[in-house]
């Protein structure tokens, strides 16, 4: 009866899950990450097996991980958010100001205010993209400069120092629970929550649908504008959270805070298998990508590779990820055309 191009698979569910895992980008990038850590640890045992080594391994990527998760939500909808670095900087400065001007403010309240502030900046992006019908690349490139400019105007040559901040807050930056840094736990919580929503909520699945084919999403009657708005607000809120984490981690904020990190966030997502044209990829992959990017930067000096090459390696990774995707897609398409003409 059926006349299928591609035979339905006769494999069991378990086989399919295992096969899917073996082919998944997440596993591939994770393997690279593990190999990198092993090689570096072999060269210098302290990289993994000292208390600071272990802590830094987990702590350093936390910031980028949060941004990469937010970036993934946006990229999935076939958009991009380049303003996250500036949002991070602005929120970091706001956090410092809140603590120095209102020393009695509870830390939780600062977290809430910071994330709401980031969400508001994200909303501006979302509104411009959703109603302006201008590519997100251009819109967020514009707001990148506007937010950074607002930051410079507001802060001037002022900077936030550790002495302006409450001790409890600074402790968050170094505190560990069962050897796991608190900031890492925050990042992991964000990852799990967003990952869960994307996988199992209707709104999450609709983000994938919109990125997969925006025109089809319109014809399907999906609330495209609302969802795109939601993606940018999420990204903004997470960039705000990253700003607070930045202050807790470094204890100091100058006007350059977060500058350039937006491209690392995009890079982490791309390396982690998030398709730049939307519709596919997971936050898990992006998180591993963020881990890999940060860890490479820490590992290469230990392996005796110069600064210049560190940047080049990151670039090569991104290119390799994109080329790999392209090759796989082309191969798949060719197979399908052959099947059709058979």
């Amino acid at each position: 009866m059926s006349d299928l191009l591609v035979e339905p698979s006769s494999t069991s569910h378990a086989q399919r899950v295992i096969g899917g895992l073996l082919r998944s980008r997440e596993i591939a990038v994770l393997s690279v990450l593990v190999a990198l850590i092993l090689v570096t640890t072999f060269k210098s045992h302290g990289f993994l097996f000292s208390s600071t080594g272990w802590r830094d391994l987990l702590l350093t990527p936390s910031l980028l991980l949060i941004l990469a998760v937010g970036q993934t939500v946006v990229i999935i909808t076939r958009n991009v958010d380049l303003s996250v670095g500036s949002i991070l900087g602005l929120t970091a400065y706001l956090t410092g100001k809140l603590f120095s001007d209102h020393p009695n403010l509870p830390i939780v309240a600062v977290f809430v205010i910071g994330m709401l502030f980031g969400a508001a900046l994200g909303l501006v992006n979302g509104v411009l993209v959703a109603w302006g019908k201008v590519p997100a690349l251009v819109i967020t490139l514009g707001t990148l400069y506007i937010y950074r400019g607002a930051f410079l105007t507001w802060a001037g040559s002022d900077r936030i120092n550790a002495s302006d901040l409450p001790k409890d807050f600074l402790k968050l930056g170094t505190q560990q629970v069962l050897t796991i840094p608190v900031l890492t736990i925050i990042a992991a919580t964000v990852l799990v929550v967003v990952g869960y929503v994307l996988y199992t909520a209707r709104s999450g699945r609709e983000l994938y649908a919109i990125g997969s084919d925006p025109d089809a999403a319109d014809l399907y009657g999906l609330p495209v504008t609302r969802r795109v708005l939601l993606a940018f607000v999420t990204s903004g809120a997470l960039a705000g959270l990253a700003g607070i984490v930045y202050v807790a981690r470094y204890g100091t904020v100058s006007s350059g805070a977060g500058s350039g990190i937006e491209l690392q966030a995009v890079g982490a997502a791309v390396i982690g298998g998030v398709a730049i044209f939307g519709g596919s990829g997971t936050v898990w992959g992006a998180a591993i990508g963020a881990f890999l990017l940060v860890t490479i930067n820490r590992a290469l000096p230990i392996l005796g590779i110069s600064d210049f090459w560190q940047q080049a390696v990151v670039g090569a990774l991104i290119l390799a990820a994109v080329v790999l995707d392209r090759v796989l897609t082309l191969r798949q398409e060719r197979q399908l055309v052959e099947a059709r003409d058979r």
């Binding site: 649908a209 025109d215 399908l336």
Partner: protein, 511 residues
Amino acid sequence: MNETYQSTTSTPVLELEDVQKSFGAVRALRSGALRVQAGSIHALVGENGAGKSTLVKIVAGVHRRDAGVFRFKGEDVDFGSTADSKAAGIAVIYQEPTLFPDLSVTENIFMGRQPLRSGRRIDRGAMYAEAKSLFDRLGVDLDPRRLARGLSIADQQIIEIAKAISLDAGLLIMDEPTAALSGVEVERLFQVARGLRDEGRGLVFISHRFDEVFALCDTVTVMRDGDYVGTDVIAETTVDALVSKMVGREVGDLFPKVEAPIGDVVLQVEGLDRAGIFHDVSFEVRAGEIVGLAGLVGAGRSEIARAVFGVDSYDAGAVRLSGKPVKKHDPRAAVRAGIAFVPEDRRKQGLVIQESVARNVATVIRRGLASAGVLTGRAETRASGPWAAKLHVKTSALDMAATTMSGGNQQKVVIAKWLATEPRLLIIDEPTRGIDVGTKAEVHRLLSDLAGQGMAILMISSELPEVLGMADRVLVVCEGRITAELSRDEATPERVMHAATHRDDKEALPA
């Protein structure tokens, strides 16, 4: 289900009366009408541009009507979005299936309406099970977990139908669903459609293939030029009666081609073949001759033209210009050989829309104009002036941006651009699409003049009057093959339409 089953006196599922819709100055629908009864399959037929798709899009909530009556299940409705129409129980299967390639077929069916568990979580188990039972019911063996990417068109349509069933749609509209299907697949689709009809749903079936219309449908509505022409019970009408209703238009108001002496063979195409696109295409175009390439949208006419010009490659065959072979898949070689190509979408493919008229006219010949590699605006203006004047391009100055001009003038600029290369063959795809009636005649006069000067012209057109009025010879393409070659005297609307809708070499359809 019996109470909803067809009876001519019951309230129709869908009623459209005197529906109007304009896009800017273009009136896509003057007076559209359609009545669909529950438990019946209704065919909607008409030439390209008759307004069928616009009518469907109004029902689907893509467009909003300007005026007219629109009732669904007896109630007046006015859908502001596709979501509204879907919520009311209308499912539309578009010509090109609209699926999300990166998601599983199951998610494609249930997107936005997934079954939920506690905490508003998607119940994947239930969703896959439901998809499986839908596929079983439709008699297809599809893995509910596979991605939509790479599905054949037939299977994509099955997904769309599964979507419609799971919506429990009272009305299902299928816009040329069989265009890309093989005989077996068409049969499967028809079985499904009849099953849905017998459940008491209303179906609208848009098709150019009369054999299918007669095999499947109960009633038929004909549209022409945005107007409702008439509705018949299938059993009481014939193909000829439908065709004459569809065409019923005079060829008179167009500028007819002036007789020109026909010269030597300029273009010779032999056995051109491209897998899945066109097959064994052979024809000639002589100097002074206009050859019309007629057929339905999607029949492969533009693809043949693109292959001749070298934009696309082909698998087998040869193209010769004045006896000399033209290198395949090399548009620059084609230009050097003397071929000019005016594409279908002039704004996107024919013009640098923001640039000046002079610059546009000079694009193809820019190498010859440049001195020492530098191309000056003055040289462009000097070179393009005579051509623009010759074609009466109405721009006060040559440095006006092309985007500000009317469609007719834009088309003339594109033609001027190519005339500057002094081609021997002009391939022109839909020469007057989107051009107002007055300017149409001017474009036609221009083509006629060019043929009179000995140029060979290959004209693709979906407008029958244009083909019949302009072409010395008509080649009809149906599904990638040339199904008829008609001289000017032999070419009647009925014969062209017949050839455009019948692929004689394919398997017969099931009754």
